[in-house]
């Protein structure tokens, strides 16, 4: 199955109706970042080029296609020559970056709007839409990139780099629905800042925001380039409120694609529902027509928590304590008392002294609850260097989850965890935000057009 078509949207492959038309008007199309370099090389040393150079030119001029992309219905790459596996479509029923398999890196930013009316908001979202569509296919941002009298439209640090599976995901925070933009009437019922949870240590500088943007990519420079350019485009329309970069083990480091480990050394995400299961995603992640707020149909609610780990404390706790805290074995990820990572775990099992094998306050037991409610977790680790006050590491988990309903899914789960989770001894929640992530954008539309 082509990633390009389906990872973003298991039910409905995205197709680009006018792909053929576009390929014929080659010279009106922006040049991909990779072709830009190929062409630069070709014009300088045309005679010396070998087979690979010839291929580069032909790919760039649209005279040939890469075999990998030469599939019926595939909208890709007539002009860009970028392998499908490296890019996702921006347009589609759902936004990319939600059920997309996690990329290696993340840049997250929360913005406050400085425009004062809906027209200004719309202009920003339209400009962001154009930029995101370019970023996801690895094109230079549209505009003047050659004029010596002007700063180039594209900041340039991703020149020559592939899209690296970059995705951009946009959401609206509760504050977007105040008096400023006339959107109060469209606020989904019950959508608001998360309620206080036991043990919260939230800092205002890590909370909230009018708009949230998640950019993920397999290359940090590509991801940063994306976020930097969105920030630049927003100047005068929106300002950064806070931002965080994240990472996980790279796919290169783990060819087996095992469940990634968090910074506590434990596998994180074992219990996630399968993103390949379209029916399950409709059940757990995508807002359905009957959920109210029609503009959100096909979208998803994002919960964000910046969770700092007490790294130094964790590092000096015994393996037994660590495993009892999670309720899993550190090495295998299997539930205590079980053999394999994906074993369900026996919640009733008792040890010789009659105590539960999986402690009552173990993270996995409390998180599961009665097992009826799931969320799609899509977290990244973060490291923000040193805490200047204590000299300790400021590192932890940048938790992101997607769900149909915050009220029914995330909030009850987090209430249970906040009250009972043994892990609370080793973590503190520093930041918090929620965003209503818009449905996908159709060709010709813009992000958030169902709302505005």
């Amino acid at each position: 199955m082509s990633k390009n078509k389906n990872d973003n949207n298991p039910q409905q492959p995205n197709t680009t109706p006018d792909a053929g038309q576009e390929s014929s008007s080659l010279f009106r199309k922006p040049v991909s970042r990779r072709d830009m370099l190929r062409l630069a090389g070709a014009s300088g040393v045309g005679l010396l080029l070998g087979g690979s150079g010839a291929y580069g030119i032909m790919a760039a001029t649209g005279a040939t296609k890469q075999p990998a992309s030469d599939k019926p219905g595939s909208p890709d790459n007539v002009t860009t020559g970028i392998p499908d596996a490296n890019r996702y479509d921006f347009y589609g029923q759902h936004q990319a970056g939600i059920t997309t398999p996690s990329q290696n890196f993340m840049c997250f930013a929360s913005f406050d709007l400085t425009v004062s009316d809906a027209a200004g908001l719309k202009r920003l979202l339209q400009a962001w839409t154009r930029a995101s569509a370019s970023l996801m296919v690895g094109e230079l941002l549209d505009g003047q990139n050659e004029n010596l009298n002007l700063p180039p439209a594209d900041t340039g640090e991703a020149a020559g780099l592939t899209p690296s599976r970059l995705t951009v995901t946009f959401g609206a925070g509760p504050s977007l629905f105040d008096h400023r933009f006339g959107l109060a009437g469209k606020k989904p019922a019950g959508f608001g800042d998360l309620p206080p949870f036991n043990g919260d240590n939230l800092m205002p500088e890590w909370c909230g925001g009018d708009l949230g943007v998640q950019i993920c990519a397999d290359d940090m420079q590509v991801a940063f380039h994306g976020m930097r350019n969105l920030i630049r485009i927003a100047r005068g329309s929106a300002v950064l409120r806070w931002s965080q970069e994240g990472f996980q083990r790279s796919t290169e480091s783990d060819p087996n694609k095992a469940t990634p480990r968090n910074l506590m050394g434990f596998k994180d995400g074992t219990a996630n529902p399968s993103v390949q299961d379209g029916a399950m995603m409709n059940e757990v992640v995508w807002v359905q027509p009957e959920d109210g707020a029609g503009w959100m149909t096909g979208g998803s609610y994002m919960a964000v928590r910046r969770i700092r780990m007490r790294i130094e404390v964790w590092d000096r706790s015994s393996l037994a304590d660590q495993e009892n805290t999670f309720g899993r074995y550190r090495v295998s990820g299997a539930p205590l008392g079980s053999q394999h990572e994906f074993d369900r775990g026996d919640m009733e099992a008792k040890d010789a002294s009659g105590k539960p094998v999986i402690p009552m306050n173990a993270h996995m037991r409390v998180a599961r609850g009665d097992g009826k409610m799931q969320i799609l977790r899509r977290p990244y680790s973060y490291s923000s260097g040193m805490d200047n006050t204590t000299g300790q590491l400021d590192a932890g988990l940048f938790f992101i989850s997607y769900q149909r309903s915050l009220d029914k899914q995330f909030i009850p789960m987090q209430q249970r965890l906040a009250q009972n989770d043994a892990l609370n001894e080793y973590i503190q929640h520093i930041g918090s935000a929620v965003f209503a992530c818009f449905p996908g954008v159709r060709q010709g539309g813009y992000i958030g057009d169902t709302l505005l």
Binding site: F27, R28, L39, A42, S43, G46, L47, L49, G51, G53, A54, Y55, I57, M58, A60, T61, A63, T64, T114, V115, G120, R123, L124, Q126, A127, W128, R130, A131, L141, D142, G143, Q144, E146, N147, N149, L150, P151, A153, D154, R232, I233, A234, R235, G236, S237, V239
Partner: protein, 300 residues
């Protein structure tokens, strides 16, 4: 598929053909950009319908450069006059009076700083902060600032006061020789805001007197003057950009207004909250981004 196995001769041909197309393409880049998304790649708030204009010639900017020359000379004349009052107070040992005259005198300089920077070593001689130059070469305003505010004395400053006045007069003499063209105006406006962004908004410029906001305001005024002068050219080339820059100046000036004091000065930097600084900085960036597009009047 066959095309991939063609001979080098064909390769060369296709490469030449492509280069030809490329040139043709380059001949009309502005028109293409106008069709797709003029200016928007840079700022979301611009809706400019960019039009194709021939590359600007020197004649197009004759009025503008003359206006700016008059402005710059006016500011430098005032700078010499006010610096003289300041240095006299220093030499007379009038500490409080010198402190009062310090920041307002500097504003005339800060308004036309790009001109001074175009004149070789004059800027460091007049405006270097400690650490910008070797200690033995350090002189100018900030040397005296340190004495007035940190050491709370004018002692030992006579020589520095004399040198400063000499340097100011030298600036006045040399300014006649500066070749002012439209390119200098365009980059100068952005440089003025970059000055604010890199040292004034962070409170690093006036580390003893904390009069950074005087410099801040003066840099912005200097940039706004350039914008005013280039406005007719800009309005012809990209009216939406012209309007947008005007609005952003207005927004920034509105943010600055509450920090003005009754005597015509500005509050000291240490009175600003973290939030004040961030808001000012963000408004500055919001202005500088479209301002950096003013180069569009220079053509391609």
């Amino acid at each position: 598929m066959k095309a991939r196995y063609t001979l080098p001769a064909v390769l060369l041909l296709s490469s030449v053909l492509f280069a030809a197309c490329g040139n043709k393409e380059e001949a009309q880049p502005a028109a293409n950009n106008a069709q797709t998304s003029p200016s928007t790649a840079t700022t979301a708030d611009s809706t400019a319908a960019g039009t194709t204009a021939p590359a600007a010639s020197t004649a197009d900017f004759k009025d503008a450069t003359e206006q700016y020359r008059t402005y710059a000379i006016g500011e430098i004349d005032a700078f010499v006059t006010e610096t003289e009052k300041f240095t006299e107070a220093v030499k007379a040992g009038k500490l409080e009076e010198a402190k009062k005259l310090y920041a307002p005198a500097r504003m005339h300089y800060e308004r036309i700083e790009p001109i001074a920077e175009a004149l070789g070593n004059l800027d460091p001689d007049i405006d270097a902060r400690q650490g910008d130059v070797d200690d033995k070469d350090w002189r100018g305003f900030h040397k005296i600032e340190q004495a007035l505010w940190e050491q709370k004395t004018t002692d030992g400053m006579n020589e520095y006061a004399d040198r400063l006045l000499q340097d100011a007069k030298l600036l006045r003499a040399k300014v006649e020789t500066v070749d002012i063209d439209a390119g200098l105006l365009v980059t100068g406006a952005v440089e003025l805001l970059n000055e604010v962004s890199s040292s004034k908004v962070t409170g690093e410029e006036e580390r003893y007197s904390h009069t950074d906001l005087y410099d801040f305001v003066a840099n912005v005024e200097g940039a706004e003057k350039i914008y005013e002068i280039l406005k007719p050219n800009l309005a012809k080339k990209d009216p939406a950009l012209e309007k947008q820059i005007g609005e952003r100046f207005e927004a920034l000036n509105k943010e600055l207004a509450p920090f003005a004091t009754k005597d015509g000065g500005y509050v000291t930097y240490d009175k600003l909250s973290k939030q004040d600084v961030r808001t000012l900085s963000q408004n500055l960036d919001a202005l500088a981004e479209p301002l950096s597009q003013m180069g569009t009047i220079l053509g391609v």
